[in-house]
Amino acid sequence: MSIAALGKAVSIRALHKSYGATLALDDVSLDIPAGCFCTLLGASGSGKTTLLKTIAGFETYDRGRILVGGVDIGPVPVSKRNIGMVFQNYALFPHMSVRRNVAFGLEMRKLPAREVQSRVEEALALVDLIPYAERLPRQLSGGQQQRVALARALVIRPDILLMDEPLGALDKNLRQAIQVELKRLHAAVGATVVYVTHDQEEALFLSDQIAVMDKGRIVQIGSPRALYDKPVDRFVATFLGECNFVPAGTGILAVRPEKIRVGEAARGCEHMLPAKVASVDFIGRGFRLLLDRHETEITALVDSTDEIAALQPGAETIFGFRAGDVLTIASH
């Protein structure tokens, strides 16, 4: 596919930015290989959007360097950076048709009309919007507007595609559909993507690489599996999915709820402990149990069995987990 953006590698070196006394970016370093889908994941105020806008050039920074394809883009004005940006509210130009919106970036690059037209067609085809080309943004649904924003960003063949919580405004079903679509597009186009979200499932689903951010710092960088299975600390462990911290012997063991086994199923585990049932809730694919052990609450997601269904709050039971399922968390 000719739209394939030959994405460039991004390298962020020791970036600092402060608003008065507060540190918005605190010694942020991050290497994103060309063609990588990298997600900045964090709660609001963690600095993820600031980092994205700094890469885009919409925000200044105090110290550090941002290299795109090995070139420092610090002194390059926004309009010369060759970035594709998808905004949370899409920021489609309301007075221009879908086609005019998508053509805008190409016109800025003074491409010949013929080429503008063919590339716009190609981009619209990619996101399946050719029948809507003459409509105004307000005549489109949220999901369609989203795709226009994507086409407008991709058509310029950006060095980097930046996306700021692009699915935040959509309802859950549509969000999932577009996630699948995004993944397909990324596979087809191969652009370098920097994606901002606070939704951990979205991050796990989409990313090649996730950078978890907190208080302006990058806490951990890695593949989704590496982050989920080997979180560096409690913050990452709880931010990416649920996590139990089970007091056992002298230490505390971190275990994901789906790795906890209850009742008969716990037999044979390396770790087995008694607990009291606090609540039993049916959630379709299984049961969600809350167990109480020495004032510590343990969450377990277990398969639907008659044994579990028969459990009553207040009953004594046992739970257990395999030694291999204990997360190794570096202590800070």
Binding site: F58, D72, I73, V78, S79, F87, N89, I156
Partner: protein, 567 residues
């Protein structure tokens, strides 16, 4: 495609050029700031200086003001008339705003038009129309005598009632609009709750509606009072000697007594009173209120209950009908009268013709004045659109810290009574020779009109999504290209509305023209004023109708554009 960054890329601070906000704040603020400094601050301050003694500080002028009974009584009259007008405006606004909030959209649109039309009709035209209606041999008296209700004409004008009628008529919208918004924001359920708890209509009004609408009313009342104390035209033309207000006293001290220091002292008092009101208003309501007129979200609109209107509701409708008629009467009456053929004013005219329009267009002094007015208005629109748009862009890019202060300064010319600006500019410009040319009056109008452009464009910029700018820059547009292709189309309706307000401000102005033009450079409103102050002849009525027509055409064009935009 990436522009190659210089090899010696800065390792330290990133280049602010990379942040591409491309439009420097100073470039926006400086032009209008400079105009305000030279054409507003300097004249007003030189008046203050004159008031406090040119050589050494002295309160002599103010002592004289306090000592001489005539001046004391003018000050009291000013406050008294302003207070009465404020009270009348509030009382008349309640039924009207209530009905506006509870009728269907079509009737509401009509009522809104009734409220806004006088607001946008030249003060001089309105005043002229009222005099025609109310004078001894005027329309109202002719009807009353014809019906045998009175044997001799009742004196409606050239006394207190004339002033109150004229001023309430034009100032009412300042209360009606916020009050209407307050009624719209009222939740029907609060009224229903009160009724379910046993409250009758009067109690509901006193305990629920009055307290909930009070903030809007007080805000509107303060604006009415603030405007009323500086009124010049209406009391001068519709009042008698007993209704002389402070603005007239300023003018007569300049024109007839040639006592500049005392005029300056009176202007100082008026300025201090206005600024005090403004400060109070800002403290209680904030300036945004002054700018948007207190419109708010419309949630669950307040309507009449399903069981229909109570007796009180019907009384309100009758009252609102009468008030609506009061608002529109002078405007509708002038049209048939302008079409009469006799040189004596009569309503309805005995026969119809276009003779007075022919007279208007064949008399060189009228045609010259009309051409000159249009010429000045065109200049004013051009200059104030540029100044106001730049100022709005600059302010929207400012740090919030100083923004409020700058905004207040930029709208001051709307708030300070025009008479003060007119007198100050006259004092400043008289030695320069600009008074005889169209440039003196043009500059004065620019000062008056630019705040309107500033406000409308600022509002448009507030609703402009900053991300659109970032998106365009991100796609490779320079700031100038972004402005032309993305921002300008988005704020164009705001600029157009500002241009219209600027046009009307210039085209309708009498007070600036009174001081800054002479017989060679006089505008249409000034020529009319000279006629009205002397004796109203039918050509003046034809001129009034022409002014109304121009206003309606301009406003209508704006409505059409706005409508096409939204559909």
């Amino acid at each position: 495609m990436t522009a190659q960054a210089p090899a010696a890329a800065l390792a330290g601070r990133s280049n602010p050029a990379g942040v591409g906000r491309g439009f420097p704040v100073w470039l926006g603020l400086a032009p209008f700031g400079l105009v305000l400094l030279v054409l507003f601050a300097v004249p007003v301050l030189s008046l203050l200086k004159l008031a406090f003694g040119e050589s050494g500080f002295s309160l002599a002028q103010f002592e004289r003001m306090a000592a001489v009974p005539v001046y004391r009584s003018v000050l009291l009259t000013t406050l008294g008339i302003a207070g009465l007008v404020t009270a009348l405006a509030v009382i008349a606004s309640y039924p009207l705003a209530y009905v506006m909030a509870t009728v269907g959209p079509r009737a509401r649109g009509l009522l809104m038009l009734l409220v806004l039309l006088p607001f946008w009709t030249s003060a001089l035209v309105r005043t002229t129309a009222w005099i025609i209606l109310l004078q001894g041999n005027g329309v109202v008296n002719t009807m009353l005598m014809g019906a045998g209700l009175t044997a001799s004409p009742i004196a409606f004008v050239y006394n207190l009632s004339g002033v109150l009628i004229g001023m309430t008529h034009v100032l009412m919208p300042f209360v009606v609009l916020p009050l209407y918004a307050a009624f719209r924001n009222l939740e029907l359920s609060t009224v229903q709750a009160a009724e379910s708890l046993g409250a009758g209509p009067l109690t509901v009004f006193r305990r629920i509606i009055l307290p909930l609408t009070a903030p809007g009313v007080v805000a509107g009342a303060m604006i009415v009072f603030m405007n009323a104390i500086g009124f010049y035209l209406t009391p001068a033309l519709m009042g008698g000697p007993g209704q002389a207000m402070i603005a007239q006293m300023i003018a007569s001290n300049i024109n007839t007594e040639l006592n500049w220091p005392f005029a300056a002292a009176l202007a100082t008092v008026l300025l201090v009173a206005t600024v005090t009101m403004l400060v109070l208003f800002q403290r209680f309501f904030g300036l945004e209120r002054l700018i948007d007129g207190g419109g708010g979200k419309v949630g669950q609109p307040f309507t009449v209950t399903s069981r229909g209107r109570s007796t009180g509701g019907w009384l309100a409708i009758v009252a609102a009908g009468l008030i609506g008629a009061f608002l529109i009467a002078p405007i509708v009456i002038v049209f048939p009268m302008s079409l009469g053929s006799s040189p004596f004013l009569a309503f309805p005219p005995e026969s119809y013709s276009l003779v007075w329009y022919e007279n208007f267009f064949s008399t060189s002094k009228w045609v010259t004045a009309l051409t000159r007015s249009l010429q000045i208005a065109a200049l004013v629109v051009t200059i104030s659109v540029v100044l106001g748009t730049l100022a709005a862009l600059g302010v929207s890019r400012m740090r919030p810290r100083w923004r409020n202060m700058v905004e207040t300064i930029f709208i001051l010319p709307m708030i300070v009574p025009v008479i003060i600006l007119a007198v100050g500019l006259y004092y400043l410009l008289a030695p320069t020779g600009l008074v005889g040319s169209i440039w003196g009056v043009t500059l004065g109008h620019v000062v008056l009109a630019t705040p309107y452009v500033f406000i409308t464009v600022r509002a448009a910029l507030k609703s402009f999504d900053d991300n659109l700018e970032l998106a365009a820059l991100g796609l490779g547009a320079s700031w100038a290209t972004m402005f032309r292709r993305v921002m300008l189309p988005a704020i164009a309706p705001g600029i157009a509305a500002g241009a219209i307000f600027a046009f009307i401000t210039s085209f309708d102005d009498v007070i600036i023209a009174l001081f800054l033009t002479n017989i060679r450079s006089r505008t249409l409103p000034k020529l009319m004023y000279e006629g009205v102050a002397h004796e109203i002849d039918p050509t003046i009525i034809a001129a009034s109708c022409l002014i109304i027509l121009v206003t309606v055409v301009v406003l209508g064009a704006n409505l059409l554009v706005a409508k096409r935009k939204t559909s």
